[in-house]
Amino acid sequence: MQHTHTRRLALLAFALVAPLSAFAFPTVKPINVVATIPDVADFAQRIGGDRVRLKTLSKGTENLHSVHVRPSMLIALSRADLFLEMGLSLEAAWLPELLVRSGNDDIQPGAGGFQNCSEGWNAIDVPETLSRKQGHLHPEGNPHFNLDPHAGRHLATVIHAALVRVDPAGEKLYDTNLKATLDELTKAETRWTELGKHWKDKRICVYHPEFAYFARRYGMNVAVSIEPKPGIPPTPSDIARVIKEMRKQEVTVILTAAWSNNRQVADIARKTGATVLELPNQTLGADWAKNWIAFQDGLHARVAAALGTPTAAEKAK
C-alpha cells in the first residue's frame, strides 16, 4: 500500500515538473540548411552543430556536371532556411532551375538565406575572354577551390557568418564551434604543409584542372593536361601530344577523378610508365574521405606516396 502511494506521488511530481522543464531546457527547432556538396555540408555541420538539420544535394562521388536531379532536392530546398552553394558556377548545370522551382523566396540569390561560399575567395584561372573555343569555361574562375588545403578556413568563416545571419540566437554556439574548427584546421594545415613542402616544382599530369588549387598551394608544376581545354575530351592527336610531353618533362604521376579515369588515361600511363592516381574531388568521394579534413589528409597521403616524398607516417618516425 505504502509502495503504491509513493508511486502516485512520484507520478504527480513528474506531471507537475515535466511542463516546467520546457522552460528550463527550451527545445530549439533546428534550422534547415541545404548544401550543394558534402564539403560545404561538413563545415555547416561543424559550425551549426545540433542547431542545424542538414541536407546535401550531391553525394560527393559524382561529376558535378552530371548531378541527377531528384525530388528530395527540390523538397529540401523548398523548406530550407539557409542554402549554401560553392559558387563560381560549379553547380551551374543543375542548380539554377532547382532554386527557381523551389518556390522558396528566402534562399534566392540576394536573400538572407542564400550564401555563395566562393564570396571573398580569390579564384584562379579567371578567363580573360569568354569563348567556348577555350572549352567549358567558368566565367568567375576555377570552381574547384574545395580542393585547396586552405579552403576549409574560408568555408568555415563564410558559413559561420551565414548561420549567424539567419539564426542570430545561435551566435554563441556558432562562435564556439568556429573557433574549435579553426583550431583543428590550424593543426591540419601544419600537417599538410609538412608533407607539401617536398612537392615544390614536382611535375604532374592532370586530366581536368580540378587539382589546380591543390597543386598551386605547394608550388607543384601541372606540366601536362590530358584535356586539351577544360571539359573537352582529348582526341587521338591530343593523346599523342600528352605522351610526348610527359616523356619530355619526365612526368610520373597522373591525377584523375573516377569519371575521367578512362581507357585513354590507362593508355597514356602504359606508354609513359606513369602512375595513375585516382582521387575524389569532394568530401565523401571515397570511403576514407568521411569529412573535409579526412579528405585532405587522404589526398596529401596519396599524393606523397605517388610522388615518392615522405609520408605522414615516415614523418612521425
Partner: protein, 386 residues
C-alpha cells in the same frame, strides 16, 4: 556642412566633363538578354519499299533563344526557329514566379505540358525524331498561345506531386490536312470559355533507392470546339471536338559517379473524338458542288516505349518503339522502331546515328539511316524534367 574638397570639381568623370552620359542614353546594352542558339543538321538515306529512295541533307532546325529576367519575380524567353525554309516564332512567354508558395504562372506562346516529351524542342530529345504517336496525335511540336498554372507539393521527403493546367486559344496543330482530300482543323477566332483549348497534367515523382527516380504521369489535351475546313471545295464541318489523353511511366537510374545512367519509360495515348475529315465525292463524280465533308469520329490509341543507356558521360545508346492507329477511317496501324547511338563530342556538340524501321499497314514499309549533328551555342543549363 563641410566644404567640398577644392580639387573635386577639377576631376573629369570617365565620360568627360559634365558627369558623362548620366542616364541620357537609350542605347545601353548592359541589360541585354542571354542569347543562345542551336543548330541541328540531319543527313539521311531513306528506302521505302516500292516508294521513295535516296539521300537528303538538311539544316533541320535552327533555334535562336533569348532569355532574361523581366524583374525579380518574372523571367521571359523567346525562341525563334528556322525550319522547312521558314522562320517562325516557336515560343515567346513570361513566367511569373512571384506567387506565394510553389505556384507559378506562365503566359504567352509556349510548348504544351503533355507527357514527358512535348515540352522540349525536337533536337533536345534522345532520338532524332519525336515518337510517331506524339507526332501524329499532337504534332511534331505543339506550342499554344495561352496561360498555364503550375504547382507542386511535397508528399514526405522524397516524393512530390506536380499539377499544371493550361488554357489556350488554339491547340489544333493545323496539320490534319495531309492531302488534298482531307480537311484542316481550325478553331473559332472568338470563343466562349468552354470553347477554349485546355491542357492538364498531373505527375508524381519519387525516389527509388539511392540512385533511382520513378515518375508516373497523366496528361490531357482538350479541344472542345473546332471546325474542319476544306479550302478548295469551301466545305466546312463545325461543332467538332477532340481530346488526347496520355499516361506515362519513367524510371531513371544514375551511377554514383554520374558516369553511367539508364532510363526506361512508356507513354500510352488515346486520341478520341473527331479525328479527321475527308471530302466525299458524293452525287455527280468529280463535281465538287455536291460533295460532303465526312468527319471521322472514334478513338485511336498509340504508345511509345524506350530504353536508353549512357556510359562514360559521352556515349549513349538506346531503342525506342512507337505504334499508333491512324486517324483515318481505316485505323491502319503504323509502327516505328528506332535504334540510335549518341556520341557527345563535348558538352555542347552532339553526334547521333539512328536507324528507323517503319512498318505501315496503309503505306510502304521503310528503312531510314540518319546522322544528326547538333551544336548548342551560348548560355546553357539543364531544366527539370517533370
Amino acid at each position: 556642412m563641410a566644404p567640398a574638397p577644392a580639387q573635386q570639381a577639377d576631376i573629369p568623370s570617365p565620360g568627360g566633363y559634365g558627369g558623362g552620359l548620366g542616364q541620357t542614353t537609350r542605347f545601353d546594352n548592359e541589360f541585354n538578354p542571354a542569347i543562345s542558339f542551336v543548330i541541328d543538321v540531319v543527313g539521311d538515306y531513306l528506302n521505302e519499299k516500292d516508294g521513295e529512295e535516296g539521300l537528303d541533307l538538311q539544316l533541320r532546325r535552327m533555334d535562336l533563344l533569348l532569355a532574361d529576367w523581366v524583374d525579380p519575380n518574372a523571367f521571359a524567353w523567346v525562341t525563334i526557329a528556322y525550319e522547312d525554309q521558314e522562320f517562325g516564332l516557336d515560343e515567346a512567354a513570361i513566367e511569373y514566379i512571384g506567387l506565394p508558395g510553389r505556384h507559378t504562372l506562365r503566359a504567352g506562346r509556349f510548348f504544351v505540358d503533355f507527357g514527358k516529351q512535348m515540352q522540349a524542342h525536337v533536337e533536345q530529345l534522345r532520338t532524332i525524331d519525336r515518337p510517331l504517336v506524339l507526332r501524329d496525335f499532337l504534332g511534331t511540336e505543339l506550342a499554344g498561345d495561352g496561360v498555364q498554372w503550375d504547382y507542386w507539393q511535397p508528399a514526405g521527403d522524397t516524393t512530390m506531386v506536380r499539377y499544371s493546367l493550361g488554357t489556350f486559344g488554339d491547340l489544333s496543330d493545323g496539320e490534319r490536312s495531309v492531302d488534298t482530300d482531307e480537311a484542316a482543323a481550325s478553331v473559332p477566332a472568338r470563343k466562349r470559355i468552354d470553347e477554349l483549348n485546355y491542357t492538364a497534367r498531373v505527375s508524381a515523382l519519387t525516389e527509388s533507392g539511392d540512385n533511382g527516380t520513378l515518375q508516373f504521369g497523366g496528361s490531357g489535351r482538350f479541344i472542345p470546339d473546332f471546325a474542319f475546313e476544306h479550302e478548295s471545295s469551301q466545305l466546312l464541318a463545325e461543332g467538332n471536338s477532340n481530346s488526347v489523353l496520355g499516361l506515362d511511366a519513367t524510371y531513371g537510374w544514375q551511377s554514383d559517379t554520374g558516369v553511367s545512367n539508364f532510363t526506361t519509360g512508356l507513354e500510352y495515348l488515346w486520341n478520341t473524338g473527331d479525328l479527321a475529315a475527308r471530302v466525299d465525292d458524293a452525287g455527280t463524280p468529280g463535281d465538287p458542288s455536291d460533295d460532303n465533308l465526312v468527319v471521322q469520329n472514334g478513338t485511336r490509341t498509340g504508345y511509345y516505349l524506350f530504353t536508353d543507356y549512357g556510359w562514360a558521360q559521352k556515349h549513349a545508346t538506346g531503342v525506342q518503339y512507337s505504334k499508333r492507329e491512324s486517324s483515318a477511317a481505316s485505323g491502319a496501324e503504323r509502327g516505328e522502331l528506332d535504334v540510335y547511338y549518341t556520341r557527345r563530342l563535348s558538352e555542347f556538340l552532339r553526334l547521333r546515328f539512328g536507324v528507323t524501321y517503319a512498318n505501315d499497314e496503309a503505306g510502304p514499309d521503310s528503312m531510314r539511316f540518319a546522322i544528326q549533328l547538333t551544336g548548342f551555342v551560348g548560355p546553357h543549363s539543364h531544366g527539370l524534367n517533370w
